[in-house]
C-alpha cells in the first residue's frame, strides 16, 4: 500500500502510526495488534501535548491513534492540532471507555472512528478503511489540499487567493485540478467529502464563516 507522498523512498511503503497513549502496556497491546496484521507499520508513542505537536513534524505520521484522555491533554485538543498541521491524517480514538456524548462529539469534530481497548480486533480494519476513504486525497498536492479545506470552510476564490498569496487565476486552476483529480464535479460533493474525511468538522462552530442564522 502506498500511503503518503513526500516521504523518503525507503519508508514510503511503511505506515507511520503516531500513538498518543500514556500507558506503556496498552501501547504494547496496540503494537502487537498492528504486527499481527499485514500492515507494515512503524509506531511512535507520545504522551503529552508538547511531544505530540513535535512528533507531528518530526515523525510525520500517516495516522494518529489517540487515547481519549491524558492528564493534561485530550483527544479533542489533539485532533484540533492534527487538523492544523496534517489535515489529511485520520484520527482514531482508542480508549478504555467512552460515553455516548463523547462519541457523538468526536465524530462531529472529525474523528474517524472510536475503538474500545477491549475490542482491539477492530483496529486494523478501521485503519484500512480510514486510509481507503482518504486515498483520493493522495492525488492532490499539499497546496490543493489547502485550497480544498478553504473552499469547504466557505472561503471564496478571491479570499483564498489573498490568504495564500496567490493569483485568482492560480486558485481557480487549483480548484479545477483538484475537482478533476477527486472526480467530484460540483462544490456540494467537495464539501461533503471534506466533511467525511474530517478536513472540516461536521459541527458548525463559531469559528466558521458559514453558520445558519
Amino acid at each position: 500500500m502506498r500511503l503518503v507522498r513526500n516521504l523518503p523512498t525507503p519508508t514510503s511503503n511503511t505506515l507511520r502510526v503516531l500513538l498518543l497513549e500514556n500507558s506503556e502496556t496498552d501501547a504494547e497491546l496496540i503494537a502487537r495488534e498492528l504486527q499481527r496484521s499485514n500492515l507494515r507499520a512503524v509506531m511512535e508513542r507520545v504522551d503529552s501535548e508538547e511531544a505530540f505537536t513535535a512528533a507531528l513534524q518530526s515523525f510525520a505520521p500517516d495516522i494518529v491513534l489517540s487515547d481519549h484522555s491524558l492528564a493534561q491533554f485530550d483527544s479533542r485538543a489533539a485532533l484540533e492540532i492534527l487538523r492544523a498541521v496534517r489535515p489529511t491524517a485520520p484520527f482514531i480514538i482508542v480508549t478504555g471507555a467512552f460515553t455516548d456524548v463523547q462519541t457523538v462529539a468526536a465524530v462531529r469534530a472529525g474523528a474517524e472512528d472510536l475503538i474500545l481497548k477491549a475490542s482491539l480486533g477492530r483496529l486494523v480494519p478501521s485503519i484500512s478503511n480510514a486510509l481507503a476513504v482518504r486515498r483520493p486525497l493522495q492525488a492532490l498536492t499539499e497546496r490543493q489540499i489547502e485550497v480544498l479545506k478553504l473552499v469547504a470552510q466557505g472561503y471564496r476564490t478571491r479570499d483564498i487567493a489573498s490568504r495564500l498569496k496567490l493569483g485568482i487565476k492560480t486558485v481557480e486552476s487549483h480548484r479545477y485540478a483538484m475537482m478533476k483529480r477527486l472526480r467530484v464535479h460540483e462544490v456540494a460533493g467537495l464539501v461533503r467529502y471534506a466533511i467525511r474525511v474530517g478536513l472540516v468538522p461536521l459541527e458548525i462552530g463559531s469559528r466558521d464563516r458559514v453558520s445558519p442564522a
Binding site: 455516548d100 466557505g154 461536521l202
Partner: protein, 218 residues
C-alpha cells in the same frame, strides 16, 4: 412542513396536558417512538414529562407501522431503539429521510457498539442516548429541534430543493426532477438562502449534513 415548531414558538418548559392545544398556548412536541418494549417506552414518556417537555407520543415496533406513522402521525422527532427483530435504526433513518427529512432521529438504546454509534452519526442520526442515561433525553430533543428551527422557515418544496442542491444536483436537473421551470428552482434557491441566512452553497451543504438532510460523502 410542520408549522408547530416555527421560529416564533419556543419549546415550552412548563408541564401541561399532552393534548393539541391551540398554538397560542403551547405546542406539544410530537414524538414517535420506535421501541418494542412498552416498559422502556413508559420510562421514556416519564422522563420527558419529568423534564417538563410537552409531548404527544406514539409507540410503534415494526417497519410497516413506522412507515405509516411517519406519514400519519407527522412526528417532530423520532426516538428509535437500535435493533428491533427484523428492523433496525439504519433502515428507519432512511425511511424518515425520504418522508420527513427535517425530523431529527435520536437513537435511544440499551447498548450500542462504537462502530454502530459512529456509523449512525455519519448516516445522519442526531444523537445517541443510552437508556441508562435517559436524563439526557429531553435536552437532546430540545437541542435537536433548536438546530433545525431555521428549517421551519422553509416550505416543503424548498426543503426538497435544498436536499437536491446539497446532494450536488444542478439547477437544471432539479427543475427536471421536480417538474418545475429553471426560473422557479432559481427563485426557490434564492429564497432558501435568504430564509436560512446562509449565502453560499458551501454553507448550505454543511448545514444540511449537520441536520442529516444529506450524508457526508462515501
Amino acid at each position: 412542513m410542520p408549522k408547530r415548531n416555527d421560529a416564533s414558538t419556543p419549546i415550552q418548559l412548563e408541564t401541561v396536558p399532552a393534548v393539541r392545544l391551540s398554538r397560542s398556548v403551547t405546542t406539544p412536541i410530537r414524538v414517535l417512538m420506535l421501541e418494542d418494549n412498552e416498559a422502556d417506552a413508559q420510562l421514556i414518556r416519564h422522563e420527558l414529562h419529568r423534564a417538563g417537555l410537552t409531548t404527544v407520543t406514539e409507540r410503534i415496533d415494526s417497519e410497516n407501522a413506522f412507515t405509516s406513522a411517519v406519514r400519519d402521525f407527522e412526528p417532530d422527532v423520532v426516538l428509535s431503539d437500535h435493533s428491533l427483530g427484523q428492523f433496525d435504526s439504519f433502515s428507519a433513518l432512511e425511511i424518515l429521510r425520504e418522508v420527513r427529512p427535517t425530523a431529527p432521529f435520536i437513537i435511544v438504546t440499551g447498548s450500542i457498539t462504537g462502530a454502530q454509534s459512529v456509523a449512525s452519526i455519519r448516516a445522519g442520526a442526531e444523537d445517541l442516548v443510552l437508556k441508562a442515561c435517559l436524563s439526557r433525553l429531553a435536552a437532546s430533543i430540545s437541542d435537536a429541534l433548536a438546530i433545525r428551527r431555521p428549517l421551519n422557515k422553509l416550505t416543503e418544496r424548498q426543503v426538497q430543493v435544498l436536499r437536491l442542491v446539497t446532494q450536488g444536483h444542478r439547477t437544471r436537473d432539479i427543475a427536471k426532477r421536480l417538474g418545475l421551470s429553471v426560473k422557479t428552482v432559481e427563485s426557490h434557491r434564492g429564497e432558501i438562502m435568504k430564509r436560512l441566512g446562509i449565502h453560499d452553497v458551501v454553507g448550505l451543504v454543511r448545514y444540511a449534513v449537520r441536520v442529516g438532510l444529506v450524508a457526508a460523502a462515501k
